[in-house]
Symmetry: C2
Subunit: 203 residues, 2 copies
């Protein structure tokens, strides 16, 4: 599915999710994703739901994982280029682990690790800076925000947290952006993403 | 969250998902859920999204997995009674494997395996019979069906398939029930469930 703005630009959707305790370097066991890997499972389901439809991929969607355990690293999955990634948690985790075992690139330098998977140093602040430079509209998922409307006018970027709420530093970085809600109940991250896609698809 | 009908009945939501190739007996590896376990990963994400919200469980929701590989067995997860199940695929799979290793109960006999997890012989036909006897409204998820409306008047039961479409026998069983759609695109099962919850929550 491709979205074209009224000005003919090629639009897309982007998600940023914070993994507060997911190790950004070293190693972790694929058998303990919800434990030793710092609830990486939450991020893996977000990747799945952001990018995969039944028997296909949302080519216009990207998701950036922010790994905050023992430092910081970002991993970006780009639906338009992704190859060889299966939708189950363990498969996606294998790709994350391969990245985490490699050196962290400098902040702001996106290094391709495999087709459709890039990584970079830095954290949420860098992602927000990059998105603003690209002219994206940034929205923060918050159960107490304004209802998310249908339709899409420019590249829309959604920021959400993992099983932990945003910390004070993140709240400060995000305070300048609008908060949008998809209901009064706090849902799992991947469920939020499914509903955002549903609302923006508008079909 | 509890829903009460205008007649004061205690209402709930139910999902049935078919796992055409998931082994109903024997054993499988927790390291190969998307392969040797016949795409059990699809069903595990459905369990997760049907039952878990952020830091909580939907107590009024049940989901029945229909394991169709090498015979037939049903496994029911009941949000109102579930204990000790974590939301990641591997954790849920561990519970499914424990059930699959045990003898299949007779058709129609629901045997509790652990808190909130029961199993029974039989397949989709038995589930539909049981639901009809309880007076539930049964709806089939189909991208070409009628748009799912908001609100809930009685226990609503949704039937969906895994990565494979319903087969001819299933289509025949389901032909008498209404088809509902949440959009023209075929989504993953767990994404459908997230959107159904969102629409029925109506908030």
């Amino acid at each position: 599915m491709k979205w074209i703005s009224t000005w003919g630009e090629h639009l897309g959707r982007r998600f940023a999710i914070i993994g507060h305790d997911v190790p950004c370097k070293g190693d972790f066991s694929l058998n303990d994703l919800a434990g030793g890997a710092g609830r990486l499972d939450v991020l893996l389901r977000a990747v799945n739901t952001a990018l995969f439809v039944s028997h296909g991929i949302r080519e216009d969607t990207q998701i950036i994982l922010h790994l905050g355990g023992s430092g910081s690293r970002r991993i970006r999955f780009d639906g338009g280029k992704l190859r060889g990634v299966h939708p189950d948690e363990r498969s996606i985790a294998g790709h994350v682990r391969a990245v985490v075992r490699s050196p962290i690139p400098p902040i702001g330098v996106w290094s391709e690790h495999s087709s459709g998977i890039c990584h970079s140093g830095g954290g949420l602040a860098q992602t927000l800076d990059e998105w603003m430079q690209e002219g994206c509209q940034i929205l923060v998922m918050d159960a107490e925000g304004s209802p998310l409307r249908e339709g899409i006018e420019q590249t829309e970027c959604f920021v959400l947290s993992d099983h932990k709420p945003f910390n004070e530093d993140e709240m400060s970085l995000l305070s300048r952006f609008g908060k949008v809600s998809i209901g009064s109940q706090w849902l799992q991250g991947h469920a939020c993403i499914a509903i955002v896609h549903h609302i923006l698809d508008g079909i």
